[in-house]
Symmetry: D2
Subunit: 345 residues, 4 copies
């Protein structure tokens, strides 16, 4: 049994990690770190885990973690993550980081969208943990940068078209919608039930920090620099991201042809599901699972293709993908502990 520590156990990503890890056959949780809730039982913070998790929240103590754990998940805000990760690596711990701190390859880009990076020397060695696209880089890493929720939904949606040059990379519009758990468990007026329920809005228009992360992956896939318009919206649901991606086809292609292209590209990927023509993804169909569902429509009137992707932002968009990365790091079958089916309705 590999011993696992979760730092940042008191947020929604944290409890989702616990849900998945508690059912995982090859690991055991040995430490839960949550500064603000130190001393509290995890099951008191999350009664969904009543009788299923005996952990007590700890203060962060790298020495203790080095004794008790083999691998650490850091589910912290950006900046907080890079304050602790180098010392974890120094102790020989493997780390899957769910923050944004090690996702961008260029420290200057990080500085432009976040703040100065305090351990830029780690960026080059740290793989971007999107296994379907970068699996080979992950297995030997000390530190894996688990992708953002929006970027996961967009990269998987556009990879096949970009990689083979079917679409114009200079004219991409990404309109994304996320469930409210993406905003975290912090007590903020904007996340209150009455502010979100029966509402819908765009936010972070032309300024959301996931923009450079998306552009980095799309540029890598296209083999040239890609600049996008990315607009996130807040959905009145707990879980789920749906991204609607608009691209101009460089050569005509029918919906059927596009779907076949995707089926081939993702033929070996258990977690990517391609909808048949006439069917489209819905965040309700992936709830609680690690699936990314994709649907395509070609519009011959305008020469554009519309790709729709759906994930659960807490699973494939965060904790599930992190466990998938952990499985790769540990040499386990990638699906281990991640075969739970979507909860519908």
């Amino acid at each position: 049994m590999t011993r696992i520590a979760v730092i940042g156990a008191s947020g929604y990503t944290g409890v989702e990690l616990l849900r998945l890890l508690l059912l995982h056959p090859d690991v055991e949780i040995t430490s839960c770190v949550a500064r603000r809730n130190a001393g509290e039982n995890v099951e008191a913070l999350f009664p969904s885990l009543l009788d299923q998790c005996s952990c007590v929240c700890d203060e962060l103590d790298v020495e203790v973690l080095a004794q008790n754990a083999d691998l650490v998940f850091t589910a912290l805000p950006h900046q907080s993550a890079m304050e602790v990760i180098p010392s974890l690596l120094d102790k020989g711990l493997k780390v899957v980081d769910l923050s944004a701190d090690y996702r961008l390859k260029e420290a200057t880009t990080y500085a432009a969208w976040y703040q100065e990076h305090t351990s830029p020397e780690l960026l080059a060695e740290t793989p971007y943990g999107l296994p379907e696209l970068y699996r080979k880089n992950i297995a030997q890493a000390r530190l894996v940068a688990n992708p953002g929720c929006y970027p996961t939904s967009v990269a998987l949606a556009l990879a096949p078209l970009l990689q083979e040059g079917w679409i114009d990379p200079t004219n991409l519009i990404i309109d994304s919608k996320s469930g409210t758990s993406g905003a975290g468990r912090d007590a903020k007026v904007g996340s209150l039930f009455c502010e979100v329920n029966e509402g819908f809005k765009a936010y972070g228009v032309a300024s959301h920090r996931h923009t450079p992360e998306i552009e980095q992956t799309l540029s890598d896939l296209a083999g040239e620099s890609v600049m996008i318009n990315f607009t996130p919206h807040l959905l009145p649901v707990n879980r789920g991201i749906l991204s609607t991606c608009y691209a101009t086809l460089l050569k005509p292609a029918t919906t059927k042809e596009l779907i076949e292209r995707y089926q081939t590209f993702y033929a070996d990927e258990f977690f990517v599901r391609i909808h048949a023509a006439g069917s489209l993804p819905n965040v309700a169909y992936v709830r609680g699972s690690n699936f990314c569902d994709l649907g395509l429509v070609s519009d011959p009137r305008t020469g554009r293709v519309i790709v729709v992707s759906a994930i659960d932002n807490l699973v494939k968009g965060a904790a599930g993908q992190a466990v998938q990365n952990m499985n790769i790091l540990l040499g386990l079958p990638e699906k281990t502990g991640l075969t739970v089916l979507p909860l519908f309705p």
Copy 2:
């Protein structure tokens, strides 16, 4: 008191008309037609109107309506509307039609997206009832074609930019999201609570029937033929449409400049509200009201402008706008009966 009949009183648009008309100081409802519910009390169909509406649902009888009413709202599905409207006009009744039957100017376009038109001779004389853009055409009409919900949200969002040629009309992406009341009160599996709640999906991609209606108005504003990508989505809220519109600026403009342009363009329009820079519309802020809220962001990185509009699909997107058109037809102040403020939260 002008005497009003509502045909199609048993749907969500119907009950919304009743809500607004019952509070209107200058009209009285004399007839409610709802074939499937003939003989039933309106307040039994809609207990929200308990003790406030003494109407009983009638079968459709044009002779009776000609005796009892001066003006008729037709809240029927397309095709059903054009089966009855010519006979209402023959009796001298004024009609505000909430269906799609008289919105498209070209019978061939109508035929391509719906079916053969059975009274194409009425299309030329029938104004498109979007008062903010076509007010002058409405006052003298016999029949007004009340716009669709999505088209209203899009036309008001893009009119200022298109009319003065600030954006490229050949590269428009419209990503819209509608509350579930837009799907009507018919018992369909896809509209069940458990299918919609906690879900989100695109539908009618590249094929929704509001596409030609939107394109007709945008083409008229641009002075040239416009073709768009329009993608509707289903939101798990009762009411509201949010449209996110992407356009390429032909000359650079800051967010501030764009907002000022909109404030000028809509300076005399009570029902159009422009958000200040940094603030964006939310369907929750227009709930139950006839307002259309607009927000803008200029993205200097990509040279695009993103315009976000929010309406209540049952009010500005249907019944409220229909009452606004009625007010114009009757020579009343346009706001009469429509000053109710949004219900938040």
Copy 3:
């Protein structure tokens, strides 16, 4: 025009007062007090009021209020209310208080459930502002204690049966469910969207502070001391309270007889609506309105009657009832500004 000040304008009850008062034909809002938001525009706090409210939030200054206002609504937490109300009265202002501070007649009861009362001398003169039951006491008052949301829903549900002794006052069970706006606009983890949505729970079991307020009114109606079990629950809706009340009939009565009793009792009450046999209230049917809907079922198997009441907690349960009390204080028709119909769906 009577000049109105709202103290506590930045909460959900505050914005609901503004919504109603802005449409009221006989009053004008001259001051909005919200300490934490002093200096901010009300329409920035609540974009639902965009272009409709020019108020800026003020600090509390009793001298200024005495100059600018004739009547004040205090929408403050308990304890905060009684810190300011005596000084408002001293200035000759009329006050409608939406807090709990002046609802209980006995300062000792208040002390047992809240804390020491700092102006107990005002309790005797202050009427309990439930117009349907205590209208005559209100007209001449300086200060009106606007009832709690749960107590309103329960008192109107049980008044007819208790007043004429049809039920056993010693065996009453009240099971109530409230929408989340009742928890206020404070940023608390328990009020976050993801904590409330798709959830449902009881809270404050056998300890909720509305218990003595309910018992006070029921005791007054019964003419003897009444003790109840009252269990509130948190509903994942923005607005609405539904109370399900269980009582033992002292003499057999059919559902039809009970409904007739209620129709007679409330015959002159515009805001109380009695459902016909076989129909029952739904919080959706009163949304945004000042109505209290009542439904009854007699169960001959057990000899009990079940009374179900529905109100909008922010309207009849708070701001609407406060305006109703204001109308009485000002000698206006009681319905003035309160005739807006429920928003359904």
Copy 4:
């Protein structure tokens, strides 16, 4: 691998059975019967199962089932179930019936609340499949009557108190609230999103068919005939039942004593979780799991105890409990395939 057939696979209970059985290590689904959808792929009906279920919906053919299956789940409406079950038993198939047809011991009671029973001879031999209370009766059965959702939540809530005579069985009030999936997947106006969302109502007051089923179990536990008031309500959530039960204590007991009593009673029951004093169940904490959470409060003012129970109506209230019964019938550990943790948020 035991071969399993699911009759009624196209409803919400059906898809939940599929979700659980597809992950069960000891069974395989060999047949899905859904008359109205015969010929359709299950994954087209429920895209949540995309790529995970290769079944095609069949017509009902008892001969085929006898060849292909060892055990059958019948997820049919009452009456439809008893039309097919005797013939399944004749073929030697074991049956877990999720309908109400074999739950009541007395055919006359069944006739009074439903219709004439067509195979009353089976009632005596058929155990009521609530394992925590009737485990011993289940193992040897041919046919198990899987309990109703409401009755499960109530029986587990009250069993400890009734069995040892701590409460007065003649004065029980049960106020229950169910998520909308309990209404099934039939297209009905009352189950539409816009009718349920932002709404809350009681239904079936003093007449719901689960009443005699609840009374049967409570009477058995109490050792005397019990008559209750049972009021179901419709919650705007997909899943979950919360029952609030009111009983009069025959001897004083503190909350702490009551909780200890429950912990002892359910000490060996994996699926029953007892909340500590001060904590109460929430349907959100059991979502997607087979847990039944219980919380208790003693009210010394009134001498009553309030017991709150929460289950997922589709899992412990239907499909999960059915799999639990299957495990018992097959001699498997009772938790097999049912250890998935609740999905929160």
